[in-house]
Amino acid sequence: MIHIALSTVLLLAQPPESTVPAPSGTDNPTLPILPITPIATSPAVAPETQPAPSQDDLLRRIEALEKAAEERAPPLATASTAGAFIQNRFNPDLSLITDFALVGTSLNDKSAQTLAVPGLIEQSDRGGKLRGFSFNYLELAFNAAVDPYFDFFSVLTFTPSGFDIEETYVDTRQLPFGFQLRIGKFLSAFGRLNGMHQHVWDFYDQPLVYEVFMGAEGWKNPGARVSWTAPVDFLLQVNFEVFQGVNDESPIYNATSYDLTAENGTNLSSKAPFVPALYVGSLKTSFDFGDNVFLLGASVMYGHSTRTRSEGLPTDMAFSAPGTILYDGELTYKYLLSSYRSITWQNEYLGLLSSGDLALASDGLVHAADKKQGGFYSQLIWRFDEPGRWRVGARFDLLDQNSFTVDGVAQPLDNMLQRYSTMLEFSPTEFSRFRLQYAYDRSRFLEGARKDVHELLLEVNIAVGPHGAHSF
C-alpha cells in the first residue's frame, strides 16, 4: 500500500508537459533542480540536504503522502478510458458580464420618451436612464483559436429590449508583413471608443458625440477589415474597413431607399443605394517618453446616410445623402505615476459633413440640404490609490457646431449643447466595479424647449470567467 501510494505520488510529481527538454540535473549535485515542495501541501521529492529526519518524522511523512495520494489520484479505471472522447478542454473561453444601475434623475419617465437633441436625435434612447433599478445588459463573450489560421470572437448581449449579436468575427493569425484580416460582424475601429465594449467605458454612458453620431452602442455591422501594423518601435497602425452600411440603429448611416407620399399626393422616393455602402479608414499611433504615453488617431467614415420620418403626418420627411463623411481626431495622454496610479487625459472631436436630398411631405418637393455638425469631449481620469482600486474622473461634452441648411437657408438649431459628468469608481478586483456618476445634461430638448437634466447613477458591473485584459 505504501509502495503504491508513493509511486502514484512520484508520478504526480512529474514535471508538467513541456515542449523543451527537461533540465538535466547536472547543475547542482546536492540539491534537486526542481523546487522543493512542502509535503503537507503538495507531493514532491524531499530535499537531500535537510538534516536526517527522525523515524517519527518519516512515519508522519508517509502518512501525509498516502493521504495526499488518496485525495488526488483518480481511480485508475476512469483515468484510463472514460475520458477518451471528452473534449471540454477545447471549449472556448467564456466570460459573462452583467451591469445594473440605480438611477435618480430630475426627468420623469414620461418626458424621457420624447427627449431630443435638436438636429441630431429626435428621441433619445433613455434605456438605462429611467428612474429606479435598471438591468442594463448581460453579455456573453466567447473566444478561441479556430485552427492555426484563425481566431474566433463573439459577444452576445441580452438587454431588456432583446437579444443582440453584438460582435461575431474571425481574425487571421498567419498573414505576413504585419497584416491581419477580420471578417464578420464587428465594431468599427473608428475613433478611440467605438471599438470598446460597454464594460470598459470610463463613464456610464458614451460621450455625447458618440451618442449622436455613432449610436449609443457604437457602429457595428457586417463587414471586413484589413489592419496593418508598421514594423517600428512605436505603434503605427492602419485599418481599412468595408461594411454593408445598412443599420436601422445608426443615427446617421443607413444605406436604404425612402418612399414617401406627400400631402399633395406626389410620390417621393429614391433608388436603393449600392451596397456595401460604408468605408472606414483609421490611423493610430502611440509613443512614450518615459512615463508619458501619447496616443493619437484620425478616422474617417464614408457612406450613405438615410433618415426618414414616416408617420402619415405633414411633418413626414426623408433625408438621403450618399457621400456622408464623419471624421474623428483623438488625442490621449497618460502619465504613469506608479504601477497602479495614473492620470489620463482623453479628447476626441467628431465632425459630420452631409449633403443630400431632403424630401418633404408638406410640399411634395425634394430640396437640397446640407448638414455640418460636430463636437467633442474631453475627460480626465485619475487612478489615485495605491492598489489601483479607486478612480475619479470628469468629462465635458460639447456639440459646438449644429448647422442645417435647406436650399441654402439656415434652419434655426441650437448649438453649444453641453453636458458635464463626474464619476467615482471603486473596483474591489478587476472583476467587480461600483461606479457613482453625476451628470448635468444641457443638451436635451423637450417639445422644442431646453430641458436641463440632472442624473445620479450608481452602477454595478460584474465579470466572471477568464481574466480580462487591462485596457490602456
Binding site: 508537459e17 513541456s18 523543451v20 527538454p21 547543475d27 547542482n28 540539491l31 534537486p32 533542480i33 523546487p35 522543493i36 515542495t37 501541501t41 503538495s42 514532491a44 540536504t49 481566431d151 493569425r173 498567419q174 498573414l175 508583413f177 504585419g178 497584416f179 491581419q180 489592419s227 496593418w228 501594423t229 508598421a230 514594423p231 517600428v232 518601435d233 512605436f234 505603434l235 503605427l236 497602425q237 492602419v238 481599412f240 468605408y279 479608414g281 490611423l283 502611440s286 509613443f287 512614450d288 504615453v293 474617417v300 504613469l336 506608479s338 504601477s339 497602479y340 495605491e386 492598489p387 489601483g388 474591489p428 478586483t429 478587476e430 472583476f431 481574466h467 485584459a469 487591462h470 490602456f472
Partner: protein, 300 residues
Amino acid sequence: MKLMMTNLLSAAAISFALAVPAQAKTKIVVTYPYIASLVGEIAKDRADVSTLAKGDEDPHFVVPRPSFIGKLRQADLLIINGASLEIGFVPPLIRQANNPKIMPGGEGFVDLSQSVNLIEKPDKVSRSEGDIHPEGNPHFILDWHNVPAVARVIADALGRADRGGAGAYQKNLDAFLARWKTQSAAWDKKAEPLRGKAIFQYHRLFNYFALRTGMKIVGELEPKPGIPPTSRHLEELLVANAASTVYMIITDPYHEQKSPEGVAKKMSIPWVVLPQDVAAVPAARDMFSLYDTLLARVLP
C-alpha cells in the same frame, strides 16, 4: 479615401524597405527584466532585446503601452514568464501586433514556466480565493536553481531563431551555467543560517525563495492574493503569531510600505524590501546581483 489608400501603400513600401536590414540582429521581446538579463548572458550582442515591464512595476499589473505593439510586430522571439503572470497585458498586445511568429503556438513564442516544476498548483480554482494562478505559483525565478533550466530554454529558442548563432549561444550558455553552478553552491551555503526561520510576506511572491532557503512562510499581509491588507487581517496575523518567533517581514518594492512597517513595529521585528526581479531595486543589476541582494537583505 484615396489618400488613405495611398498612405497605406506607401507605408507598406517603407516597411518592406526597413525589413531588410532588420534581419541582421535577432529581435527579441521579453516581458520582465530578468529574462532580458538571461538573454543578454546567452546572446551577448547578437540580439536586440526590448523589455515590456520595468523591474519596480507590479509584474501582474504592467501597463499595456500601445508602443509595445510596434515592438512585438518586429519580434523574432517573444519570451514570457508564463503561468498567467502576463495574462492581464500580453494577450491584447499580441492580438494587435499582427506577427504570426510570436502568436501562442508560433515558433517564436516561448513560455518559460513550461520548463520549471511549479509549486502550489491549486486543486480547485475559484476567484473567491483572490488572484490565484491555476498553473501554480508563477514566481519560480526566485529560486536560483530554476535558472539553469530557464537559461537552456532561452538558448534553445535563440538557436532556433538564429541558426547561425547556435554555436555561440551554446558556448555562452555553457560559460553561464558553469559560473552559475559555482555561484549556486555559494548561495546554498550562504543561505544555511536561514533554515527554519519563520517569515511573513506581503504577497505569495517569495515562496520559491523561502523553499530554497528553508525559511517558513507563516503568513501573508494580503488576506488573499491580490486583495490589499485589511486591519482585521493584520490583527489576526498578530494574534495567531503572538507566541511564536517571526524572524522578519519581506515585501516587494511596488506595494505600499505602511502595512509591513506597521506590523513590524508592533512585533518589534525587521522588515525588508526584496527585489522580485532584476532592476526591482538598484542593487539587483543582473541575475547574479539579484540573488546576492536577496540573500544579503534577509541574512542576519
